[in-house]
Amino acid sequence: MDPGQKSVVLILARELATNLATPMFLVDANGRLVFYNEAAEPIVGKPFSEVGEMDAGEWAALLKPTSPEGDALSRTQIAPGVALLERRPAHGSIAITGLDGLPRRLEITAYPLYRRADEFAGAVGIFWLENEG
């Protein structure tokens, strides 16, 4: 198949995300950020249409995730990294610097997406500002 087409799992997940008022993002099996929805834009600090797809290293460098206390975190210490690298669901609190330059504290739940038991398609995360439940 044309390698240009994304996994149908990601296609369906994006369709869900576009219809949700809950902030949601998607990464593919390589950790590339492929989408976040409109509800996520005020938290990330820019519309996805302005940002576009980004490799794992790029979005981590831009958002600068830390612990709520400001300590640096490795990728396996944040929920999306756990979902992507350890391929299990995870939840946690982090602080980021939005793409508008403003600091924010978030809670994130992320989980892996498998099309088949042996075929990892990527991960999805939902997140919200702390204390906004």
Partner: protein, 292 residues
């Protein structure tokens, strides 16, 4: 590669005076590879007629490629004559399931009380394979990939000596998409299978007016099909999987509507009908591909 359509209807067989021209049998397409291997795309009621032509033909192997297991794509299997010939090998591919084997799922239908003969008791030699990725059948390369429909469903692309046929009979690529025509193709289900295909057989179940009442049912409106085909750059679009409520006259109107949005020539956008043939051999010119 050559292809012949034995069933073009979706959902339910619908024989009668209103479906004479385009046919009432459900999905089944015969494909002969350049080295004459037989591929059967789906096992709808059209498969019965195909099976009758194979009696005494000396056929020894049939590859049955199921897109999914809804009844309109499976009901003909029990009436396929080679199933009862112990000298025939039948290789069946179908959509994967995380929990139940393909044989078990097909056996749900091919077993009493729904059918008098249990799958385990048919004389032909059967084997079952998950349809996923790429595999060879004779001179052809078959690619199977999941597409958006209700339940686990795949589409197929067959490439043979530089020619390609893509078969996606049940598909709703527009689900959740505001305007399919301007989508990034990488985000549209099925484009990987259909990209640049010589012939695309595609779900065209609904009119534009009917679709809003059927969103999420897993099928396409005719204007979505046109947009999808043009997005994928297919050369010839064949409107397939006709709604059982659509008469021959209704289908003619659907095609006229589709042509109004089609950028190619009128011969490159046609309605599937039983008995329709395609010659995709190397020698055939594009204009000769669809033979009425």
């Amino acid at each position: 590669m050559r292809a012949r359509l034995w069933g073009t209807r979706g959902s339910l067989a619908s024989p009668g005076p209103d479906t004479v021209r385009y046919g009432g049998n459900t999905s089944c397409v015969e494909v002969r590879t350049d080295d004459d291997e037989l591929i059967v795309l789906d096992a709808g009621t059209g498969m019965r007629g195909l099976g009758l032509t194979l009696i005494g033909s000396g056929i020894r192997r049939v590859h049955v490629l199921l897109t999914h297991l809804h009844m309109d794509h499976l009901q003909g299997l029990g009436f396929f004559k080679p199933l009862y010939d112990p000298s025939v090998e039948i290789v069946i591919y179908g959509p994967p399931s995380p929990t139940i084997s393909l044989a078990e799922r097909i056996g749900t239908y091919l077993s009493p009380p729904l059918f008098p003969v249990a799958l385990a008791d048919v004389p032909a030699r059967l084997s079952f394979h998950d349809a996923d990725g790429t595999f060879d059948v004779g001179s052809a390369t078959v690619t199977a990939a999941p597409v958006v429909h209700q339940g686990s469903t795949v589409g197929y692309r067959i490439d043979d000596l530089g020619r390609s046929l893509t078969y996606i009979p049940d598909h709703e690529p527009s689900l959740g998409v505001l305007d399919l025509a301007v989508q990034d193709p990488s985000w549209v289900s099925g484009t990987g299978l259909a990209q640049g295909a010589d012939v695309l057989l595609h779900d065209a179940q609904y009119s534009t007016e009917e679709y809003p009442n059927h969103v999420g049912w897993g099928h396409s409106a005719v204007d979505h099909v046109v947009a999808f085909a043009q997005l994928a750059g297919v050369r010839q679009l064949v409107l397939f999987h006709h709604d059982p409520l659509h008469t021959d006259a209704d289908l003619d109107v659907l095609r006229e509507h589709a042509l109004s949005a089609w950028s190619g020539g009128p011969d490159e956008l046609v309605l599937a009908f039983e008995g329709m043939e395609f010659d995709l051999s190397v020698a055939a010119q594009p204009a000769e591909r669809a033979v009425s």
